[in-house]
């Protein structure tokens, strides 16, 4: 107990000192304590001052728990204990503040009338939050007030405490709903005549005159002087010790080249959802209390809880005073999604553009916390974009400004996701602003970064295709924003695909055909090959030879399988396009050039030649036999078929070993005729479904090779 008293007095004395001086003096105190309190040393059995100190802390914590349990149970006749427990609580509260759970218990105790007024007053005086106060505790307290178990003076103390601690309450939604009760209670119980509560009432009268009906004296007097405040000293003393302490004074850093600008207002980047609009309030001056409470003019945001509610009140919704707050509310995102009011979107645009630029400062990366905060902010934006299935223009503008300066590291995943949500627009316009910078990063970075970029471009393509496929249906009614014709839009998409083709071709060479990279490239083409059927858009773009041939010669069976799948899908898309053309007879604007078909056929021939007929590269590719001879692969024709292709080699061996597991030597050439079919079935059973589809659609098996 003695140690706690000392801390207590320290806490009182050091209120005017800053935290650093506190630190040094606290350690001095520890040493002193160590020397004086030999009992505690012997108890702990060691000389380590820090651990000793922590031990003392633990003890205090235990004592506090016991004390809280005592108060919760209610008074027991032995008053000595009561005094002891009260002291314990007071000491801990003044030293460290109380946890939300502790305050919850004490608040109920004080208002339940279990103890006398004197004890209640002492409890109230030491109800100092260490971090926050739970809203539920306050709600519970109000229900105790309704039970009428406590005296008038305790009630007054409660209201004073509530006013003083208002900023520490974690949420206010429930409390906001209780205002009716507070006002009624203050006015009806004539508690309002207490000076501090009068102050509260006159303050509300100042902002919302209609809510307060009692007449208040017009005396000019300062009601809440800081010096008179019961809890101020304790709160100030706690502040430097608890880093997350909420009531930071406002301060603005003025030098703006490198330093981190502290936020003016809230603790988070995104403003709090608040429909309070000052100009609106003033217009309502003539309303009386009941009108106000049963207001049917507009629907306050604070009450908006469900989607049906949104639908019912969508015509009279009070919009947030700061539009940025919608990012934190899925219901309001629904709202801005269908709103026709342009000022709503402009407000969001301005706020988001400025916040992104202000928060994202590459020079700040040294500050870990700030980097994390910015990443969280981007995550919130991305969730909203994903929810709306649509990118914000502010983010696009932000990327144009920031991507040239980006190091490719900071918030990488968030940045690339932002890229994938860029709204559809003309590729050639965006290329110098965005894609040229992206290629520079692409070529100078690791294989993992290359793959991330390919992935993000795949998502971008998908988002554009989704949007265009829906846009095409409203085309007859309106003009599209950027491209006036569908042809123009298709050009833009095809340019994006060619751009990725160019990236991929170069990357395959730079990374010497790494399987990992090929997977990401083929993932992209899985989207590309199905545009005609999946999105109903007149576009088929093939992969460049620089992608096709390395993939065909890949050593990895899953890559080859993926290639087969994509070829099969290209086949189906092209066939469908041809059929459509045939049905409509007239040559439409979007009929594919014969060049696309020729290109496809060339790839197809090459694949069938390699994998099936063992006559690879008959057309379009000439290899000097001498070169092959030098490489001792003069007999190469079979070496790329399903049996001998290096990607399938392990399957071949397993297949043959299945037949005769004892064999030390396998004869690969034995896979012929019927056995070839069994081998195929074996491959399919091993999960090579792409291959299965490809062979079924592209090879007419009239004869067995």
């Amino acid at each position: 107990m003695s140690s706690q008293k000392k801390i207590n007095s320290w806490a009182r004395k050091r209120t005017s000192q800053d935290s650093s001086s506190y630190q040094t003096r606290l350690s001095a105190w520890r040493v002193k304590e160590d020397l004086n309190d030999s009992k505690s040393i012997s108890k702990c059995g060691q000389n380590n001052t820090v651990e000793d100190y922590e031990g003392a802390d633990d003890q205090a914590e235990n004592a506090l728990q016991i004390a809280l349990r005592y108060f919760e149970k209610g008074p027991i006749k032995t008053s000595q204990n009561k005094e002891k427990h009260l002291k314990t609580v007071e000491n801990v509260a003044w030293k460290n503040g109380l946890a939300p759970e502790g305050i919850d218990i004490l608040l109920s105790v004080a208002l339940s009338g279990k103890f006398g007024s004197a004890v209640n007053t002492r409890i109230f005086k030491c109800m100092i939050p260490a971090t926050l106060i739970s809203e539920d505790s306050v709600v519970k307290a109000v229900s105790w007030l309704c039970a009428g178990k406590c005296s008038g003076s305790t009630k007054v103390l409660f209201y004073r405490w509530l006013v003083a601690m208002f900023d520490f309450i974690d949420h206010k939604e429930q409390i906001n709903l209780l205002y009716g009760f507070f006002f009624a209670s203050l006015q009806d119980d004539a508690l309002g005549m207490q000076p501090h509560l009068q102050a509260l009432l006159s303050l509300y009268k100042f902002f919302v005159p209609t809510l307060i009906s009692v007449s208040l004296p017009m005396r000019k007097k300062i009601y809440f002087k800081n010096s008179e405040n019961l809890w101020k000293t304790a709160l100030l003393a706690l502040k430097p010790r608890n880093p997350g302490f909420p009531s930071e004074p406002l301060k603005l850093m003025l030098t703006n080249v490198y330093p981190i600008k502290r936020k003016w207002n809230s603790h988070s980047i995104i403003p709090v959802l608040n429909s309070c609009n000052y100009s609106k309030e003033s217009r309502k001056k003539r309303m009386n209390l009941s009108d106000y409470l049963s207001s049917n003019g507009s629907f306050p945001l604070e009450q908006l809880k469900s989607f049906p509610q949104l639908l019912q009140n969508i015509h009279c919704l009070e919009l947030p005073s700061q539009m940025g707050a919608v990012l934190n509310s899925s219901l309001l995102l629904h709202y801005i999604n269908c709103v026709r009011d342009e000022s709503v979107l402009l407000r969001l645009y301005h706020w988001l553009s400025q916040t992104l630029q202000e928060e994202c400062n590459w020079y700040k990366v040294n500050n870990y916390d700030h980097g994390k905060e910015f990443a969280n902010f981007l995550d919130t934006i991305l969730r909203a974009e994903c929810f709306l299935q649509e990118g914000f223009y502010s983010c696009e503008a932000f990327l144009y400004k920031s991507l040239p300066l980006w190091d490719g590291l900071c918030c990488r995943s968030q940045f690339l996701q932002l890229v994938s949500w860029i709204p559809f627009s003309s590729f050639s316009e965006m290329k110098p602003l965005l894609f040229d910078h992206l290629s520079r990063l692409f070529f100078t970075s690791s294989i993992f970064f290359k793959c991330s970029i390919l992935q993000c471009l795949k998502e971008l393509l998908q988002n554009w295709l989704l949007w265009l496929s829906m846009d095409i249906h409203v085309k007859s009614v309106r003009n599209s924003p950027l491209e006036t014709t569908l042809g123009g839009s298709m050009n833009s998409v095809s340019e994006l695909i060619h751009y990725v083709g160019w990236l991929s071709t170069t990357a395959v060479r730079l990374e010497s055909n790494r399987t990992f990279l090929l997977h990401f490239i083929l993932d992209f083409y899985e989207k590309v090959c199905d545009i005609y059927i999946n999105y109903n858009l007149p576009l088929v773009v093939l992969f460049p030879p620089g992608v096709f041939y390395p993939v065909l010669l890949s050593l990895d069976s899953s890559i080859l399988n993926q290639l087969c799948y994509i070829m099969d899908r290209y086949h189906k898309n092209l066939t469908a396009a041809k059929k459509n053309e045939f049905v409509h007879k007239t040559k439409s604007e979007f009929s594919f050039s014969s060049k696309t078909y020729q290109e496809f056929n060339q790839y197809l021939t090459a694949m069938v030649g390699c994998l099936w007929t063992s006559r690879p590269f008959q057309k379009g590719l000439y290899i000097d036999p001498e070169v092959l001879g030098n490489a001792s692969v003069a007999e190469y024709k079979k070496s790329l078929n399903l049996v001998h292709h290096p990607a399938f080699l392990s399957y071949t061996v397993s297949f043959l070993l299945q037949e005769c597991p004892e064999e030390r030597k396998v004869n690969m050439s034995s896979i012929r005729g019927k056995k070839w079919n069994w081998y195929l079935d074996y491959l399919y059973s091993e999960g090579l479904h792409g291959l299965k589809h490809f062979i079924r659609s592209s090879i007419h098996r009239s004869s067995v090779p």
Binding site: F206, F207, L252, N277, Y278, L345, Y349, A397
Partner: protein, 346 residues
């Protein structure tokens, strides 16, 4: 962020097209984005600007009225358009802002009630501080300390001053609808804590966004050239440049003062196009200063960072601080600052 737990409620078919449809055609938002694209793809500033002409205030405005804006150091901010701001509500804004300041100053503890707080907030227009008829009127916010003695009825001391203006802000005005008031340039003189509180109130009330407006070395060079080019009846201050050399343990500042008439003579020697300043002229002007300095001190100033420019027209610091000295060129200086502010919010 709360959980998006109801994806099935999203009208997905509409979701991606609605917002887009809305941007069809040349809505302000669309124009905005196009202007950002243009800005990013080309050199951000036009290669030529007009040299500020003499007083561009409207004829019926007395320049003496703005004397209090001169010879004071102002910190610059850019400000996005104010939503639902009205010049007719000044009285009410004063009252609300007064209450807000009182509440914020006591935050976390308790609040004093309106009349007892010994400050007064005053909103007023600065009629005539604008470039064209389309520019909205500038306005002023001041915090005055109330006199403690009831017998004294004089206005108290000015504790804080901030003013909002738009001078030749056409490019911004085109991109917003009538619900907004565009005053992209905010200048403030007073305690930071007050700026933070008042800025917060404006952000909450008019859904706008303040950002400190720094002036980079490139723009400082432009200011140096444009202000040197201004015709002066008599010079009030020397022309002075301040460069900063980042070296440890202490950074080194190099001050370079020139007689204003010499600076003007140098400018006249590099200046060709009448009435205009071009990028080449700015570069040449600065290069001449650099080579002169190098000849004497063997220091390449071009390798250091220009942080301050002072002339008889005005002085500006890279931190975003400005002091306007010559009433004749008030509008000219504000026009360039408005341009920088608009650039920052685009």
């Amino acid at each position: 962020m709360d959980s998006y737990d109801a994806p099935e409620l999203t009208p997905r078919q509409d979701a991606s097209s609605r917002l887009k449809d809305f941007f069809v055609g040349a809505t302000p938002l669309q124009k905005r984005l196009e202007s950002v694209r243009k800005q990013t793809s080309f050199i951000p500033t036009p290669p030529r600007r007009k040299i500020p002409q003499g007083s561009q205030l409207q004829e019926d405005v007395d320049p003496q009225k703005f004397a209090f804006l001169l010879h004071k150091q102002w910190t610059l901010y850019s400000l996005t358009p104010l939503y639902k701001f009205s010049y007719t509500n000044f009285k009410e804004y004063s009252k609300l802002l007064n209450a807000f300041i009182a509440a914020e100053k006591q935050k976390g503890l308790a609040v004093e009630v309106g009349d007892d707080f010994n400050i007064k907030v005053v909103f007023s227009t600065l009629m005539g501080v604008k470039g064209t008829q389309r520019d909205p009127e500038a306005f002023l916010v001041q915090i005055l300390s109330k006199s403690q003695l009831p017998s004294e009825h004089k206005e108290g001391k000015v504790l804080w001053t901030g003013w909002f203006c738009c001078v030749f802000g056409d490019s911004l005005l085109e991109t917003v609808s009538e619900d907004f008031t565009c005053l992209p340039l905010f200048l403030v003189n007073g305690a930071e804590t007050n700026t933070a509180i008042i800025g917060t109130w404006f952000q909450k009330t008019f859904d706008c966004y303040f950002r400190p407006l720094a002036i980079n070395a490139f723009n400082l060079s432009w200011m140096a050239a444009m202000w040197t080019a201004c015709k002066m009846d008599h010079y009030m201050a020397t022309t002075e440049f301040l460069w900063s050399v980042p070296c440890s343990p202490h950074s080194l500042d190099i001050s370079y003062a020139i007689h204003p008439e010499d600076a003007k003579a140098l400018w006249d020697s590099v200046h060709k196009t009448p009435g205009e300043v071009t990028q080449e002229e700015v570069d040449l002007f600065m290069d001449c200063l650099y080579s002169h300095f190098h000849r004497h001190f063997k220091i390449h100033l071009s390798a250091t960072r220009l942080v301050r420019v002072s002339t008889s027209v005005a002085s500006a610091h890279t931190d975003g601080k400005i002091k306007i000295l010559c009433p004749k060129y008030l509008i000219g200086v504000l026009a360039y600052l408005t341009e920088l502010a608009v650039f920052q919010i685009e």
